[in-house]
């Protein structure tokens, strides 16, 4: 029996999503068959040390893959490092800044309700 890839219109792989500095969305409901999920990458260093944005109608989770950054949102300032995460509510103004470098994976989806900002420290959640 041969195994052949099913013919599909859907693009399932998106290559090299970590190539650009700043904040860039690679996968959204507009460019993929995801119904809700948005994936963006935030890569900052001395050349691009800061980004600002509004979450708009989307809740957003950031996972820090490497480096360290300061996140200002909802009147709070938090510093997160490797494998820490932060949950950002919808309709929130956000500023992310680094003194050296940071690489964040951002996961978002549109939501009706506003849930509170939450921080998850890796050392506590490590399993």
């Amino acid at each position: 029996m041969s195994t052949q890839m099913k013919e599909t219109q859907d693009q399932l792989i998106f290559r090299g999503t970590n190539q650009r500095k700043g904040r860039h969305a690679s996968i959204t409901p507009e460019n993929s068959s995801m119904r809700h999920l948005v994936y963006a990458r935030v890569i900052l260093d001395a050349e691009v040390p800061r980004v600002t944005f509004s979450t708009g109608g989307l809740e957003s989770g950031l996972i820090c893959l490497s480096g360290e950054c300061t996140i200002k949102a909802d009147g709070q300032t938090h510093t997160i490092g490797q494998y820490d995460s932060i949950y950002l509510p919808r309709d929130t103004q956000v500023e992310i800044a680094t003194e050296e470098s940071v690489d964040l994976v951002e996961c978002s989806a549109e939501v009706e309700k506003k849930y509170p900002l939450q921080i998850v420290r890796y050392r506590i959640r490590a399993q």
Binding site: M1, T3, Q4, M5, K6, T8, D10, L12, I13, F14, R15, G16, T17, N18, Q19, S26, I27, S32, S33, M34, R35, H36, L37, Y39, R41, E59, S60, G61, I63, L65, Y83, S85, Y87, V105, C107, S108, A109, E110, V111, E112, K113, Y115, P116, Q118, V120, Y122, R125, A126, Q127
Partner: protein, 132 residues
């Protein structure tokens, strides 16, 4: 597997975390799917060249929607289907996984999966996460 944005966080749709494998091993095994409640995507990280993994996405293993080599920085979406992957000898496969619930809050459930028939004798391997 590390669940960073799971039931420990109050949210509407999103769930996320990261998984690292032993070199040469499979992850997301036994193969499972959760398309009725959650869509998912993987983002591969910390896999410097020449490392690569192989990602599968299939509903019917004889007619897979995707089988392909994945490298550092690539992302694969899984609107539906089973989605195991494997690393090459000497190198791990590492990825951030993120999911969005189709119905806000109601479908935001971790570990509620269908295991590929034939591989379900020992459960899903995700039972412990259901208790958290």
């Amino acid at each position: 597997m590390n669940i960073t944005l799971g039931k420990n966080v109050e949210a509407g749709r999103i769930l996320a975390g990261f998984t690292t494998s032993e070199p040469g091993h499979w992850t997301s095994w036994p193969p499972h799917e959760h398309a009725s409640i959650l869509e998912e995507l993987y983002v591969y990280y910390d896999m410097p060249a020449p490392s690569f993994g192989v990602q599968f996405v299939y509903t019917n293993p004889d007619e897979p929607e995707f089988i392909g080599i994945v490298r550092d920085g690539d992302a694969v979406i899984m609107p539906k289907g089973f989605h195991p992957n494997v690393s090459v000898p000497g190198h791990p496969i590492n990825f951030v996984w993120m999911m969005a619930a189709h119905r806000e809050v109601e479908d935001r459930q971790f570990g509620v999966v269908t295991v590929q028939p034939g591989f379900d004798q020992a459960g899903s391997g995700l039972e412990a996460s259901l208790k958290k």
